[in-house]
């Protein structure tokens, strides 16, 4: 997420928005954004309903056995169609923003 913030200008230059989603409350996300300097939208899905809809629930993996999201990235084009999916198999290894942007631009021919 830090990496996406660092490359946010490049994404915006290509007309691509970046948004983060987790089960954290708006207050918790606000705190995170303040402390880490994130400026893109952080959305709160406290009951993991959207996370479930995207098929990436990690049951009981959170605090007190709470259902949370497993790390994942999706690119949704302007028509609302998924054009790129990245499901890491390792918590430590997230999509690199530069690589993601390259793949996405190739997908949308931009």
């Amino acid at each position: 997420m830090r990496g996406f913030e660092k490359h946010l200008n490049e994404f915006h230059q290509h007309g691509i928005e970046v948004a983060a989603i987790s089960v954290d409350s708006p207050q918790e996300s606000n705190h995170l954004c303040q402390s880490r300097g994130y400026t893109y939208p952080f959305l709160s899905d406290p009951n993991a309903e959207v996370i479930r809809r995207y098929g990436i629930l990690h049951p009981k993996a959170g605090e007190n056995g709470r259902d949370i999201a497993r790390p994942a990235e999706f690119f949704v084009d302007s028509a609302g169609v998924i054009r790129w999916v990245n499901l890491t198999d390792d918590l430590r290894i997230r999509a690199r923003p530069e690589a993601a942007l390259d793949v996405i631009l190739r997908q949308i021919g931009g």
Partner: protein, 155 residues
């Protein structure tokens, strides 16, 4: 007067602090605690933490040298008690690190139900940090698309 105890005292002082044992242990600890704040942030050391592995090896070599000194030259070096303790702790630390890297962080569900490329993205409306409701359509407005980053949360 009391010459014997002075000699003994000096004799004790002559046994040198077994620095390689402590240096080895310090490097092992450093390797463990440095991964998250340092090496996990650097692209070339994140996926395969080779710097941390090298530090564990270096720490192990120093511990081995320290142990050898402690047992082969007990008159000159200390460490017959601290050496084995530090070595066992170091092994546990390195084992925990390797287990974490190779096993624990990979315990993720397969998520075979996730939408595939070409499928419509599931709709949603969620609160942002100001409590304002934001729909997928709002994120897409005026954009070529949006990257949705799902993360575990800072619980």
């Amino acid at each position: 007067m009391d010459g014997e105890s002075v000699t003994t005292y000096n004799g004790f002082l002559k046994r040198r602090w077994n620095i390689s044992l402590w240096a080895g242990f310090a490097i092992v600890v450093l390797s463990l605690i440095s991964y998250i704040p340092v090496f996990a942030l650097l692209p070339i050391t994140r996926d395969v933490p080779w710097v941390n592995y090298l530090l564990f090896v270096l720490g192990g070599v120093l511990l081995a040298i320290g142990l050898k000194r402690a047992y082969r030259e007990p008159d000159r070096y200390r460490g017959k008690i601290s050496g084995p303790i530090l070595s066992v702790l170091s092994l546990l630390i390195a084992g925990f690190f390797v287990l974490g890297i190779l096993v624990l962080t990979k315990q993720l569900p397969a998520s075979s139900g996730a939408p595939h490329v070409g499928q419509p993205a599931p709709q949603f409306t969620l609160a942002n940090i100001d409590g304002k409701q934001i729909a997928l359509a709002d994120l897409l407005k005026g954009h070529q698309g949006v990257i949705l980053i799902f993360y575990r949360g800072y619980w």
